[in-house]
C-alpha cells in the first residue's frame, strides 16, 4: 500500500502521461492573464507616480488614520462574529435547545441580506430622524445613541457576516468525531473538561476559517461603512476617486495599503487551510447532547435577539417602506431592472466560458502551472470591488479611452470579481467525471475535443449552469463596481437604490431592495443544491 502511495506521489511531482494537452494549458494561462489585468493596471499606475511620491503621501495625508480605522473595524467585527456565531453553532448542534432546526435556519439566513441593504434599513430605523426616533419623540426622548460611525458599522457588519463563523463552526462540530469525547470521558475527564481539551482544539480551525472570512468581508465591504459614514479604506477610495481636491495618487496609495492588509489575512487563511488536513476525523458518532436545563431560557433569548436584529429589522423596515410609500413604490422605471438583468446575464455567460479551460485544466493537471493559473483567477475574489473598479478606471484612461465607463468594461469588472465562483463549481463537476470515461471515448475514436464535447460537457453541464447562475445572482447585487464603472445615465437596481437612499425617498427603494434580497436567497439555494449534487 505504501509503495503505491509513493508511486502516486512521484507521478504527481513529475506529471503523469495523462497530462492534458498544451492547447488547454495555453487557454487557461490566457484567461488567468486576462483577469489579472486590473492588478497589473494598478501596479503600473502606482509605479507611474513613483513609490517615493506615494511614501510621501503616506505621512502627509490621513491614510494612516484610515488604516487604523479599518483595523479597528476588522477587529471588532471579527470578535463580534465569533462571539455570536460560535455560541449559536454550539447551541444548535450540541445541546437540547428547543427548535434546533428552526434556529439553524434563522442563524444562517442573514447571509441573504446584502449588507448595504441591512445598513440602509438600520439607518432608516435607528438613525437620527429614523423610525425609532420618530416613535420615541412624542415620549419626550429627543436623542438616541448615534448609529453612525464605528458602532453602527461594526454592529451591522457583525449582524450580516456572523453566519460565516456560524456555518464553518457548525460544519466542524458536525464532522467532529463524538467517540473522541467518549474516549476522554473514559480517561477521567468530565464533560466540560473533555469539551475544553478535545472539542475546542478540534473545532478551532473551523472557527478561525470563518473568522478570517468575516475579517476579509469587513475589510472589503464598501456599502456599509459608506452608509454608516465611517472612514475606512473602501469608503475613502471611493470618495477620493470622485473628489478633485485630493493629492494625485492618493486612491492608488489607499488601494495598495488595503491590498497589503488583505494579503496578510489571506496568508493567515492559507496557513489554516494547510493545517486542516490532519484534523480530519473518521468516526461519525455524535457526542451526547448537552442538557441545558434552566439555561434554556437565556439561550432562547439570545437566539431570538440575533434573529430579530439580523432578519426582523431589515425585512420589517423593507415591508414598512412598501406599506408607507403607497403608489410611490412603483416610481422606478422597468428599464432599471432590465439593465440589471442584461449586465448580469452578460457577466454570467462570459464567466462560464472563461471558467471552462481554467477549471478543466486545474482539475486534470497536477502541474505547478495549473495550480498557478487556478490561483490567479482567484485574485479578483480577494481584491475588494472598489479596488478592482479603480484599477479598471486607471487601465481604461491609460490604454483604452474608448472603453472608459462602458458596459463592456463594467461586465469585465464583474467577470474579474466573480470568475472564481464559476471556476469553483465547474472544477468540482469536472472532478466528478471519471477520467476513464474520456479515455474510453478516445479509444472509441474520438479526438480530445470530440471526447470533451460528447462526454465531458454533457456530464458537467449542471455544474456549469450552477456556476453561471451564481455569477448572475452575485452580479445583480454588486455595489462598488456598479457605482464606479456604470456609464453615465445607465441605472441598475443597485445604483437606483443608492440614488434614492441619497435622496431620502425610501419607499421607492422598497421593491428593488426586496428583489435583491430575493436574488441573494436564490444564490444560496444554488450553492446548497450544488453542494448536495457534489456530495
Amino acid at each position: 500500500m505504501a509503495g503505491s502511495e509513493r508511486l502516486a506521489r512521484l507521478r504527481d511531482a513529475v506529471g503523469g502521461d495523462d497530462e492534458p494537452g498544451l492547447s488547454l494549458a495555453v487557454l487557461a494561462g490566457a484567461v488567468a492573464a486576462f483577469v489579472s489585468l486590473p492588478l497589473v493596471g494598478l501596479l503600473v499606475r502606482a509605479s507611474n507616480y513613483g513609490f517615493g511620491h506615494l511614501a510621501g503621501l503616506l505621512t502627509e495625508t490621513g491614510s494612516l488614520g484610515v488604516l487604523a480605522n479599518s483595523l479597528v473595524l476588522v477587529f471588532w467585527v471579527t470578535l463580534g462574529c465569533v462571539l455570536v456565531g460560535v455560541p449559536l453553532a454550539v447551541l444548535t448542534v450540541q445541546t437540547d435547545l428547543p427548535g434546533r432546526r428552526f434556529w439553524t435556519v434563522v442563524a444562517a439566513l442573514p447571509l441573504v441580506v446584502p449588507s448595504y441593504i441591512g445598513a440602509f434599513t438600520f439607518v432608516s430605523a435607528f438613525g437620527p430622524r429614523g423610525d425609532l426616533a420618530d416613535a420615541l419623540a412624542p415620549l419626550g426622548v429627543e436623542r438616541i445613541p448615534a448609529i453612525y460611525g464605528l458602532h453602527g458599522t461594526a454592529l451591522v457588519l457583525i449582524l450580516f457576516t456572523y453566519p460565516y463563523v456560524f456555518l464553518t463552526t457548525r460544519a466542524a462540530l458536525l464532522s467532529f468525531d463524538g467517540t473522541l469525547v467518549e474516549a476522554a470521558r473514559t480517561l477521567n475527564h468530565s464533560r466540560w473538561a473533555a469539551f475544553k481539551r478535545v472539542t475546542v482544539p478540534q473545532i478551532l480551525p473551523g472557527v478561525t476559517a470563518g473568522a478570517l472570512l468575516a475579517a476579509l468581508y469587513a475589510l472589503s465591504d464598501f456599502g456599509t461603512p459608506s452608509i454608516m459614514r465611517y472612514e475606512v479604506f473602501t469608503q475613502q477610495i471611493y470618495v477620493a476617486q470622485r473628489s478633485l481636491g485630493v493629492p494625485e495618487g492618493y486612491p492608488a496609495l489607499l488601494s495598495m495599503q488595503l491590498l497589503a492588509v488583505v494579503a496578510v489575512v489571506l496568508a493567515l487563511e492559507s496557513r489554516i487551510g494547510e493545517g486542516d488536513a490532519s484534523y480530519v476525523s473518521r468516526g461519525s458518532r455524535q457526542p451526547g447532547r448537552i442538557t441545558l436545563g434552566a439555561w434554556k431560557w437565556p439561550a432562547l433569548a439570545f437566539c431570538a435577539a440575533v434573529g430579530v436584529l439580523s432578519l426582523g429589522v431589515p425585512l420589517g423596515v423593507l415591508a414598512w417602506w412598501f406599506e408607507q410609500a403607497g403608489s410611490a413604490v412603483f416610481e422606478f422605471e422597468p428599464v432599471v431592472a432590465w439593465n440589471s438583468l442584461k449586465v448580469a446575464a452578460a457577466a454570467a455567460l462570459a464567466a462560464s466560458l472563461l471558467a471552462l479551460p481554467v477549471a478543466g485544466y486545474a482539475a486534470r493537471s497536477t502541474s505547478l502551472f495549473a495550480t498557478l493559473t487556478d490561483r490567479l483567477t482567484y485574485v479578483g475574489y480577494a481584491i475588494p470591488g472598489v479596488v478592482v473598479a479603480l484599477a479598471l478606471l486607471y487601465l481604461s484612461t491609460e490604454f483604452t479611452q474608448s472603453l472608459y465607463k462602458t458596459v463592456p468594461l463594467l461586465v469585465f469588472a464583474y467577470v474579474v470579481r466573480f470568475l472564481p465562483q464559476a471556476v469553483g463549481t465547474v472544477r468540482s463537476s469536472v472532478l466528478q467525471v471519471d477520467p476513464k470515461l474520456t479515455e474510453a471515448a478516445r479509444t472509441l475514436g474520438r479526438s480530445p475535443l470530440g471526447a470533451f464535447r460528447n462526454v465531458t460537457l454533457p456530464l458537467i453541464a449542471p455544474g456549469v449552469a450552477a456556476g453561471a447562475a451564481l455569477v448572475f445572482l452575485t452580479t445583480m447585487k454588486e455595489l462598488p463596481a456598479t457605482l464606479m464603472l456604470s456609464p453615465i445615465g445607465f441605472e441598475t437596481l443597485v445604483s437606483y437604490i443608492w440614488l434614492v437612499r441619497g435622496a431620502g425617498s425610501y419607499g421607492a427603494a422598497a421593491i428593488p431592495a426586496l428583489v435583491l434580497v430575493g436574488v441573494s436567497a436564490l444564490s444560496m439555494v444554488v450553492i446548497l443544491a450544488q453542494e448536495r449534487y457534489n456530495g
Binding site: E182, A184, T186, L187, N188, H189, Y279, G283
Partner: protein, 376 residues
C-alpha cells in the same frame, strides 16, 4: 438453551478453572437490561468477570454486545439490573457512576486517538492526577510495553493501523483501570495484521495484568485470544465457558451453528445404537446421553473435519456432491444426503470427485458429538 424435555448427564459444562470465588470477581452484571423505546437491546444479562482474565462477548451484529460494553464503560445507563465493579455498585436503580469516575478504560473500534495531540500526549491524557515526572515515567513504561519506544513525538496520522492500536491500548492502560474494554479491536486492521495483533494484544494485556472484556463478531478472534468466551444472541447469553468447551460442546443449536461450519445429521436414538442415514453407531457417540429415550429423534452436530466423503456406486451412496469449495489448504465437499440433510466433508487434498457424483459419507470423528432435540 435448555434442551426441553430431554436432559443430559452434563448439561452445564463445569468451569475448567474450578468454582468461581467471589473474592476474585472484578466485574459483576446482575439482570442487566437495556431498552431503547420498545426495542430491547440487552435482556437480563448476568455475568461475572474474574480478576486478570480476558473475557470475550461473541455474537452476530445486533446481538447487544456493543451496548453491553457501553453500559460497562458508563456511556449508557442500564434500564434495569446492577453492575458492580471492584465490589462497588456503579450502575443500579439508584446509582450511576459517570464514565470519568468509573476507572474503566476502553479501546475504541476506530481507536479514537486525539488527532491534535502527539502519541505521548495521547497516552498521558488520562494521567491527570500525577505530577509531570511521574506521568512522563508512566508514559515511557507504556510505550515500552506496547513496543513503541521513541515514537512518542509522532502524530497519530503518521502511524500505521497496528501502531494506532498499540497507542490506543497504552492510552487506556495508563490510568491503571480496574477493567479494560475492547470494542471490536481488530476490525479496523487488514487480515494479515489482524492475526499478528491478536497475539500482540494478548501479550500486552497479560503483561499489564489487567482484567479485560472484549466484544467481537469474529469467532476465530474470540476463540484465539480469550480466556473465556460468552456467546450472545438477541440480547441474551447463550453460553459461557473456555474456548475449547464452547467450540467442542455448544450447549445450544445457535452456538453450534454460529461456531465453525456446522452441519446437522438427523438421528434416531435406539436402545443400544444411534441410527443415522450414513450408518448406525454406538450410543456413546452422543455426548452425555442419559439412559432411556429410545425412539427419540435428535440432530447430531457434525463439523467438516468429522466427516469424509468416499466415491461410491449409486447403490452404496449416502448422497451426492452438490458443491465443491476450495479454501486453499483444503477442499470442503457439500453432500446432500438422501434424506435431504446437507453436511460438509473436509479433505486435505483434491479427490477425484465432481459435483453430482454419488458418494458414501464416513464418520471419522474420534470424540463424542453434541446433539439437540429434533426441531419442528
Amino acid at each position: 438453551m435448555a434442551d426441553s424435555e430431554l436432559t443430559t448427564d452434563a448439561t452445564v459444562e463445569p468451569d475448567t478453572d474450578g468454582p468461581t470465588d467471589a473474592a476474585d470477581t472484578v466485574l459483576e452484571l446482575d439482570g442487566v437490561t437495556k431498552r431503547y423505546g420498545t426495542e430491547t437491546a440487552v435482556s437480563d444479562l448476568t455475568l461475572s468477570v474474574r480478576d486478570g482474565e480476558l473475557l470475550t462477548l461473541l455474537g452476530p451484529s445486533g446481538c447487544g454486545k456493543t451496548t453491553t460494553l457501553r453500559m460497562l464503560a458508563g456511556l449508557e445507563r442500564p434500564s434495569e439490573g446492577v453492575i458492580s465493579l471492584a465490589d462497588e455498585e456503579v450502575a443500579g436503580p439508584s446509582t450511576f457512576v459517570e464514565a470519568e469516575s468509573r476507572g474503566v478504560g476502553i479501546v475504541f473500534q476506530d481507536f479514537a486517538l486525539f488527532p491534535h495531540l502527539s502519541v505521548r500526549e495521547n497516552v498521558a491524557f488520562g494521567l491527570t492526577d500525577r505530577d509531570d515526572d511521574a506521568a512522563d515515567e508512566r508514559v515511557d513504561d507504556l510505550l515500552d510495553l506496547v513496543d513503541m519506544p521513541g515514537m512518542g513525538d509522532r502524530s497519530p496520522d503518521q502511524l500505521s493501523g497496528g501502531q494506532q492500536q498499540r497507542v490506543a491500548l497504552a492510552r487506556s492502560l495508563a490510568p491503571e483501570p480496574d477493567i479494560l474494554l475492547l470494542d471490536e479491536p481488530f476490525s479496523n486492521l487488514d487480515v494479515r495484521l489482524r492475526v499478528e495483533m491478536r497475539e500482540e494484544v494478548r501479550r500486552i494485556l497479560k503483561e499489564a495484568g489487567v482484567t479485560a472484556v472484549s466484544v467481537t463478531h469474529d469467532q476465530e478472534e474470540a476463540l484465539s485470544i480469550s480466556d473465556r468466551v460468552a456467546v450472545l444472541d438477541d440480547g441474551q447469553i447463550e453460553q459461557v465457558g473456555d474456548p475449547e468447551a464452547v467450540f467442542e460442546h455448544p450447549e445450544s443449536r445457535f452456538v453450534a451453528s454460529f461456531l465453525g461450519q456446522a452441519g446437522f445429521l438427523s438421528a434416531r436414538v435406539g436402545t443400544g445404537t444411534v441410527d443415522t442415514s450414513i450408518g448406525s453407531y454406538d450410543r456413546s457417540l452422543l455426548q452425555g446421553l442419559a439412559d432411556g429415550y429410545a425412539g427419540a429423534m435428535v440432530d447430531v452436530l457434525v463439523r467438516p473435519d468429522d466427516l469424509r466423503a468416499v466415491p461410491a456406486t449409486e447403490a452404496d451412496a449416502d448422497g451426492t456432491i452438490v458443491r465443491r469449495q476450495y479454501t486453499g489448504p483444503s477442499f470442503i465437499y457439500h453432500v446432500e444426503l438422501d434424506n435431504g440433510d446437507v453436511v460438509r466433508c473436509l479433505h486435505n487434498h483434491a479427490e477425484d470427485m465432481t459435483v453430482g457424483a454419488p458418494v458414501a459419507v464416513d464418520l471419522v470423528a474420534d470424540h463424542s458429538l453434541s446433539w439437540y432435540p429434533k426441531q419442528g
